[in-house]
């Protein structure tokens, strides 16, 4: 079974630039999550999708972050403009309907200079 795919693996940008991350969840998983993990901390939920609808985006900084999940499959997370404090690993995870455990991708490590 293929896992959660994320790209790119690493990204280095300058502040005020924009960046986008891509995630393809496990086939058939209706729930998709984006987490932000700052070095030394646990993952913090940014946004959760159920199919192509947003379930929770209460911790997404909407003035600079946006996410979409067109057609309820893969998803993109965008930051525009980036700030130094956005340097983190961005993790995508998926879960099947009725399931309780999350399956994570390897993440995208973002460095904002």
């Amino acid at each position: 079974e293929a896992g959660v795919a994320q790209s790119p693996r690493y990204k280095i940008i300058e502040k005020r630039q924009s960046v986008a991350f891509w995630c393809n969840p496990i086939s058939g998983h209706a729930t998709l999550y984006w987490y932000q993990q700052i070095l030394g901390q646990g993952p913090k939920l940014l946004i959760q999708f159920q199919n192509n609808g947003v379930v929770d985006d209460s911790q997404l900084p909407k003035d600079r972050f946006s996410a979409e999940r067109l057609k309820g499959v893969d998803s993109t997370l965008k930051i525009q403009p980036a700030k130094l404090e956005d340097s983190a690993v961005y993790l995508c995870a998926s879960k099947e309907t009725g399931g309780e455990k999350l399956f994570f991708g390897s993440g995208t490590q973002l460095s904002v200079l």
């Binding site: 646990g42 993952p43 929770d56 995870a93 309780e100 455990k101």
Partner: protein
């Protein structure tokens, strides 16, 4: 704010020893899960314990849950070098929202 807090923040043990880490959480839960994260990788689910369970085993892992104290512990027995990783507890606060603690970094010395 994060729901769970792990203790200790870091742990260094000799190969073959046991490693114990604790997790405290704030609100009522449906279940509590433990995940492992190897350096530079995503998280991997280890074990889930439901709010009506007190103890659960999976291979060399033993998890306990005390809902009256809002705490859980993860024991890894007979540790190996491959167990070197960060361990996170995560709680399902509502049906869909999984909230993670800050993690315990475990180093197993050969």
């Amino acid at each position: 704010s994060q729901q769970g807090e792990e203790d200790p923040q870091a742990l260094s043990i000799q190969e073959g020893e046991n490693a114990t880490m604790n997790c405290s959480y704030k609100t009522s839960i449906n279940n509590l899960q433990w995940y492992r994260q190897n350096s530079g990788r995503g998280l991997v689910h280890l074990i889930l314990i439901r709010s009506n369970e007190r103890e659960k085993h999976s291979g060399r892992l033993r998890v306990t849950l005390d809902t009256s104290k809002k705490s859980s512990s993860l024991l890894i027995t007979a540790s190996r070098a491959a167990d070197t990783a960060s361990y996170f507890c995560a709680t399902f606060v509502v049906d869909y929202k999984l909230s993670f603690g800050a993690g315990t970094t475990v180093t197993v010395r050969a």
